[in-house]
Symmetry: C2
Amino acid sequence: MSTLTNALTTAEAATTTGWSARMLRYVEQLGLVVPPRSASGYRLYGPAQLQRLRTLRELLERSGLELGDVGVALRLRREPELAAALDAWFQTQLETEPRRPQGLPDDSDWLAFEQQKHTQLLEH
Amino acid sequence: MSTLTNALTTAEAATTTGWSARMLRYVEQLGLVVPPRSASGYRLYGPAQLQRLRTLRELLERSGLELGDVGVALRLRREPELAAALDAWFQTQLETEPRRPQGLPDDSDWLAFEQQKHTQLLEH
DNA sequence: GGCACCCTGACACGATCGTGGTAGGGTTGT
DNA sequence: ACAACCCTACCACGATCGTGTCAGGGTGCC
């Protein structure tokens, strides 16, 4: 098998990283570790992906986060409008008066992007 | 009732914000909107909390996030070590060679904090 | 002192998550 | 060509989430 191309197949990657083959596909579906594909569609896990899978394991164990949580964090990284909206919300705490901060343009269209990009993390 | 103290009780806050009383308690349990309490333990929703509840509603509808997702984002805000760990992981993508970045001290104790603070978001 | 409200804790129940398994069909190497 | 792999698409199933409801007990006010 891949003694020359240094890219592992799904089952091989599974055994060396401690995940199951099923979970590797699931992790890919969440957009967390997406390996390139061969011409015929086989997943090809290179050193970068293997490293990513191992450290992901560490991360989950040490932090107590779940896979979906990391997916959310990834989404925040990819959609800065969303992260900004969250930032804004977190700071709605102290303003007990209806004093408008007046440095912002206007908060009427404060978050104007099509939702529903939520479910299609991968365009498959 | 509270025409003088301008702080609403749970049921009142529920009707004016569109949440249910049950959900208000759940949102509090997630640490997202935590109202102060009266001496006898009644929740007192002031204008800040009401605003927070309404904008939280907006946020969820527009972004497609779930309540738990916002909880995770909040956790990232409160635990910068965790956010740093995630940052580190997200950048493990491009290093296809085992070249160590050598600007970092050492990644052996790269994330050393007691887990299990996960379940006790509120110390109750 | 009663009535209307609040609290916590529990059970319930559909929906989603994490994970395994299987079926049906292509690919690869000898 | 045949075994040994890989793929996608399902079904299953326990665990957790989101939400309602109810019981048992305290609080506030007329």
